[in-house]
Symmetry: C2
DNA sequence: GGTTATATGGACACAGCGTACACATTGGTG
DNA sequence: CACCAATGTGTACGCTGTGTCCATATAACC
């Protein structure tokens, strides 16, 4: 996961006094991220994080206001958010590639479940909801919107469309299948989404 | 809410012995639905439901396997699922009307928050997830898919499109804004979604 | 070296879940 | 009508997790 050294099992035993703040913080964050990937938000507990980090719960409560805040920080610590958006001047190819990559991230790695659980938790945790929007969904939306806007300027797309709504119809549709899996989330599905939108249904 | 008689405040006091099973069941269900609309899944507690229904927790545990199951049953009891899909032979108008109605349901009634919380809870409650798919999202999807399929047969839409993906790009996009409210869920948004898809982006 | 900041262990009260047991009452059976 | 089984009720228990407080130990800083 995020362990550089294979230090394996829970840190053996810890003395009582103060330890370097940054070190403890880092250990808590990687522990939080690991636990999140391993169990999702279901088994994500302040107590477990503290135990796995070899820290005390008090320390966590001092630095993070809510469980959600800690989870989000831990997630970012472990997954190193890859926020790249390749821009090859072919908007259809770019959207397709980006969407297919997202589908694979969600389907083939634990990140999918974690994202689903974070969104779920955000429904009843306003602080997490804000943080998630500002630090994750917001930036990701912005990248897609920029790409679409550039394509509009290049004349590849109609100039009067609303890029934000397009984002919802591509990524939002995938999130929908992630959160309410009536049907599977496949690469073919991602390609169909782009095709539907670009060509139109008529 | 679901009270036919204004019997108001919590059932005063209850004797100790057995009561008619159906009656207790009904009282628990309306209590569950009311509580859900009032507080959402956040404050939805077996104990509160039992208190409001004037029943004992044991009874609830006997009949419902999980908190989610009870919540879903309660929700259906109170909202009387309006599963109508007007079919006026004009698919664009039908989709728009249906989607706009959905947006208003989600925005202007407590049902929106309840749906969001149910989906959230379903992320960590497999039984609820199954029940939600089979009893709610599944049937609703089916209605939209049928309408789209009929429109394809009538020649109003291309014959080679995948109706299911269209559903995700309309309703799924709305769910996305409900669950990750980066941007508001408006009637104009709903109309834009239909327009984007039908006309195409080029 | 002395002071301050901070991590730690331990204890507490509280909420909610899930279960168990004894008792009360109803519904049905004979 | 008498009895039995089914089922709701009250109460209590153990468990997990939360959030808070305290005293103590130790690092970091001046």
């Amino acid at each position: 996961m995020a362990q550089l050294t294979p230090d394996a099992d829970p840190p053996p035993r810890r003395g009582r006094g103060r330890r370097p703040a940054d070190q403890v913080r880092a250990e808590i964050l990687t522990a939080a991220g690991d636990l999140l990937l391993a169990e999702g938000m279901a088994g994500f507990t302040i107590e477990k994080v503290a135990a796995q980090a070899g820290a005390s719960r008090m320390t966590i409560y001092k630095w993070w206001p809510s469980k959600g805040a800690l989870a989000l920080d831990g997630y970012f610590t472990v997954v190193a958010p890859t926020l790249a958006f390749t821009d090859t001047a072919d908007i259809v190819a770019d959207l397709t590639n980006q969407l297919v990559a997202f589908v694979h991230l969600v389907r083939d790695t634990p990140a999918g479940r974690v994202i689903a659980h974070l969104i779920a938790q955000a429904q009843t945790d306003p602080e997490l909801a804000d943080a998630y929007r500002q630090r994750y969904s917001g930036p990701r939306r912005a990248l897609a919107v920029e790409a679409i806007t550039r394509a509009m300027a290049r004349g590849q797309l109609r100039p009067d469309i609303d890029p934000e709504s397009v984002v919802d119809q591509l990524w939002g549709a995938c999130y929908h299948r992630l959160l309410v899996p009536d049907l599977p989330l496949t690469e073919a599905f991602a390609r169909t989404l782009v095709d539907n939108l670009v060509r139109g249904l008529r």
